[in-house]
Symmetry: C2
Subunit: 413 residues, 2 copies
């Protein structure tokens, strides 16, 4: 994989020009893309910027995010050839930081369930996960050092785990969702994929102009609370192993590691996620569902058919439940610095028919808290399995610092 | 003006066909539009729906709200002729309720400060206010019974006050802002204009499928807290008079009316509004500002030039301040059912150069609470002055019920 932080340091020291850094990605894309299918379209002759912390950094942008220079097709024929007028704010943030958008990455239809043809770079017989399939795969294949995805259920953390890359779903609304095709305005969150946690930190810091996100000094005694989300039912043995391995590594590296029970209000929050998501999806996708029913991605359409009966009162109650869950979660962070849990129910499922299950992600999306995937182990078939580090709302720096601590502890084992 | 509730009742009773109801609006538009200039574009041959609670109701949609069948020009030449692919969810909600969108209404450039040529129907030498200029004017001129606007500072309540119509800015996110050109995602709120409060209630209820918003039984003893927002500096004598007249009328009608001091945390919230708004506007409008600088609406551009130095830390602090303000406000609603305050600093300013001042609105937009404008008095030049009724977050039904109580009390005086 291409490390953003490493490229950046070579460019800053003059060891590498921004043009040459960009050229590496373009070369890697021409080498791997045919096998992976991570891109919907690519820039014809992308150029590196002359300045900016991310000059020379090639970025892939999930194809539900508006771009003025590329079509934005939402993973659906309903938007075939659609060209927005403006770049989404988050794309402008990338450009302002000097990054070069080299292409749009594949997405399941409207960032929901209908899979793309993208392969998992770690094992082409397996899904890369979704909905941010192309972004995860493009980084995992070593084609680009940075990619944008979005998560409404588990569409950033899960594909990152399946593809063996680092990823962050930042605090809700740290990155604007303006110009991003909406599925659920309460949940949709823009996230980043990169080779490692340090790369995420450099990328997110440059995009947001938040220097506090840059890697800081090592943590004295990190307090980690292990949570197994029992309300989501048990994961596969692979994810259980990944969590145990990561917890053990962190403990050996000096962290204080204990198991935490999540309060009942959070189990209720987990349960409320779908009501919030589907009620809002019916509004957000009303035009497509009502006027382009036949052309809708079939799995998404079936889900909308199924969930059309949610009433405003159910939705209001689900939002209140979510608020109670957020309060309860906030209390947990009095006891620990971060939570550590599964990133997905197991390794990437075989085949491309399903992008996997969001059940270990959706609560954290609803809580709006920062989540980081750290690749933890490799299992049969060369497939990676990650763990998920979660911090308090607004403490993205803490999530990244803890994730880097765990990443380094895992590297030393 | 055309009363939505009255049309609806005539249609339901069979006294009037939906087609004839719609035709009334079309006739009124052809009669008044030339003098007022409320529309950017109009449907060629609009038709009434056969069913739905709002069948036969002609609606105007502010031209920053996406429509598949009309251009959406954002009040700026940068979007001249721009045609979105899809209807915004709130437009679909109108259509699903049976309403007919008869045209797009004028907006200041990107719903900010640069005025339109729209006239105030109550006195053509005065501004109708903004940014939802066309929506307020079209309803006030008796052209349409319902219009959609948006408010980020005071862009719904203020023009309603200036034009003498009822308007509601509902609780934050009751109406989705998806497909609405973003200025500030924390603040942007879709609102409705109609002839009277009862009309608003029928319109909002039909659009949202929330029957609890329909007018209910009269309130036994409404507790009203008068607030003067002294941190916003004093209003003109006209608004002082409007508030006194409304308070006296409500008291005579049996309400318990007292004066409330707003806690310091809310004064700080008032002050934080601009930081939130402008920090987000720089991101939301980054593409336009960076790539179409010369074509930007000049007053908006100057404001963006002025506010480019807001740092992420300032923004984070402003958001925390806003949260403290929300908590303090929530406490006030233990003592009273609604707050009553100014809708604007006075009557509509003379001339079309300025759309007026948001200083009595912006706190409530930041608080996310439902606000209703009730026309209260008429002053020199035939200009109306309204008062603003404010309820607890989520209590839109209470805001409408109290506003109707005050409207009726004013009618009896």
């Amino acid at each position: 994989m291409i490390s953003l932080a490493e490229l950046q340091s070579h460019i800053e020291s003059g060891k590498l020009s921004a043009d040459d850094a960009l050229a590496r990605s373009l070369e890697a894309i021409s080498q791997h893309e045919k096998k992976i299918g991570a891109f919907v379209c690519r820039a014809e002759a992308p150029r590196a910027a002359a300045s900016g912390a991310l000059r020379g950094i090639a970025v892939g942008v999930k194809d539900i995010i508006d771009t003025a220079d590329f079509p934005t097709e939402m993973g659906s024929k309903i938007y075939a050839g659609w060209r927005p007028r403006a770049d989404a704010p988050v794309v402008m943030m990338l450009r302002q930081a000097g990054a070069t958008v080299v292409g749009k990455t594949t997405t399941t239809g409207f960032a929901s369930r209908d899979p793309t043809a993208t392969r998992n770079p770690r094992n082409p017989d397996h899904t890369p996960g979704g909905s941010s399939s192309g972004s995860a795969a493009a980084v995992a294949a070593g084609m680009i050092p940075l990619a944008l995805g979005t998560q409404t259920g588990g569409s950033v953390i899960r594909p990152a785990s399946y593809c063996g890359v680092a990823a962050i779903k930042p605090s809700f609304r740290m990155l604007p969702t303006v110009g991003v095709k909406c599925f659920s305005w309460t949940l949709d969150t823009v996230g980043l994929f990169a080779a490692g946690v340090r790369d995420l930190a450099h990328g997110l810091s440059a995009i947001t102009n938040r220097s506090e996100l840059l890697p800081g000094p090592p943590i004295e005694r990190l307090r980690i609370g292990i949570v197994t989300q029992d309300f989501a039912s048990a994961p596969d043995q692979e994810s259980t192993q990944a969590l145990r391995v990561a917890a053990d590594a962190a403990a050996r590296a000096g962290a204080s590691v204990g198991t935490l029970d999540l309060p009942e209000a959070m189990a209720e929050g987990w349960d409320a996620h779908e009501t919030v998501q589907e009620f809002e999806a019916h509004q957000a996708l009303a035009w497509e569902y009502e006027t382009r029913y036949e052309a809708m991605p079939p799995l998404l359409r079936a889900k909308l058919d199924e969930t059309s009966g949610i009433r405003p009162a159910d939705y209001d109650e689900a939002r209140r439940t979510a608020n109670r869950g957020r309060k309860a979660l906030s209390g947990l962070f009095e006891q620990v610095d971060v939570l550590l849990t599964f990133s997905a129910p197991g390794a990437a499922p075989k085949g491309l028919a399903s992008t996997g299950d969001t059940r270990f992600n959706k609560l954290w999306t609803l809580m709006g808290v920062p989540c980081v995937n750290v690749p933890a182990i490799e299992v049969e078939g060369g497939l990676p399995v990650g763990v998920q580090v979660i911090a308090r709302f607004g403490n993205d720096a803490g999530a990244l610092t803890a994730a880097r601590f765990i990443e380094e502890a895992l590297a030393r084992r």
